[in-house]
Symmetry: C2
Subunit: 186 residues, 2 copies
């Protein structure tokens, strides 16, 4: 009899299978994610997301692309048709630290009843506007609070709190990523 064990919605058989496969052949760990953005008007644009490469092959499980819109609020000369790009960064970071805790807690057999994450980022618009070269365009600081619920002891809670170190987006935001940008003309 094969018993499937799922913790936090994560299939532990599949997770350990992934870990074993990647350990045996590190080339399977290579992933490339992709997106394509089409400018519409002002701060309004649309991104489509579909294909990616991972685990040794092009993924073909998505039959339709995801569509993600961006706009700005009126104070930033948009029409509130969608969140702005700085807000999407906060979304990605909050969802990633939460999901990282969920997966790694599952691998350790720690069941969670809930994870609620709040996040805020502070920036000075003078950076974007180019009014002061000493002011960076991006966030000066980001604050995240993750509230986890579950029946775990103090040692397990300490371990849960330490799991954020595995979060990809936390690493991307906290540490430098080489970004090569090529501007071409049609």
């Amino acid at each position: 009899m094969h018993v499937t064990s799922t913790v936090n919605g994560v299939d532990l058989d599949r997770l350990s299978g992934t870990i074993d496969a990647v350990s045996a052949d590190p080339a399977l760990a290579r992933f490339q994610f992709r997106a394509r953005n089409h400018w519409i008007d002002g701060g309004y644009s649309r991104t489509t997301i579909k294909d990616f490469y991972g685990a040794g092959q092009e993924d073909d499980t998505r039959t339709e692309p995801f569509t993600v819109d961006t706009d700005e609020p009126p104070v930033l000369l948009g029409e509130n048709r969608a969140p702005n790009t700085g807000e999407y960064v906060l979304h990605a970071l909050a969802a990633c630290v939460s999901g990282t805790i969920v997966y790694h807690a599952a691998a350790r057999g720690i069941a969670l009843d809930g994870v609620e994450t709040t996040i805020q980022g502070d920036l000075d618009l003078r950076g974007f506007l180019g009014l002061d070269s000493n002011v960076r365009p991006g966030y000066e600081q980001i604050q995240v609070t993750i509230n986890v619920a579950g029946d775990f002891d103090d040692d397990q809670f300490a371990e849960i709190a330490s799991l954020i170190r595995y979060s990809p987006v936390r690493d991307i935001v906290s540490n430098p990523v080489p970004v090569a940008i090529d501007v071409t003309r049609a």
Copy 2:
């Protein structure tokens, strides 16, 4: 008679008004964006985005929150209900460099006919899985290609290409941002 001048969908009167206001009172440049993420199951979670602070006040122009979902593809133990967080980072970066070019070109009187941006990010899953401490969890590199169309000369094209330096998300991804994370228990 008041003539409104709009370039690239950007209202130049309002843009110059913003620049003048922020130059006169730098406190107006302070913005704080926010998001709240609710874990649902496995890699599936939902973020709500609504309020922010900017230009000296709490914004009240959004009557309903935006909802942004995250999931993973099957190979990462999800069900493809939404893009994953690494893809949202690519979306935010692509849309931000595009929008930054659009706004700054408008301020310089350069009209654009189109902006198409493609982006890809490479990562090694061993970082997330904690299998090799020498492998970072996040992207090892990101490649962006921005194709701009319009009736501009070579000098203007060179200026357009240089405008990416003002992009907030490019700064956030390329350079370190201090991220403070507090994990609490319910």
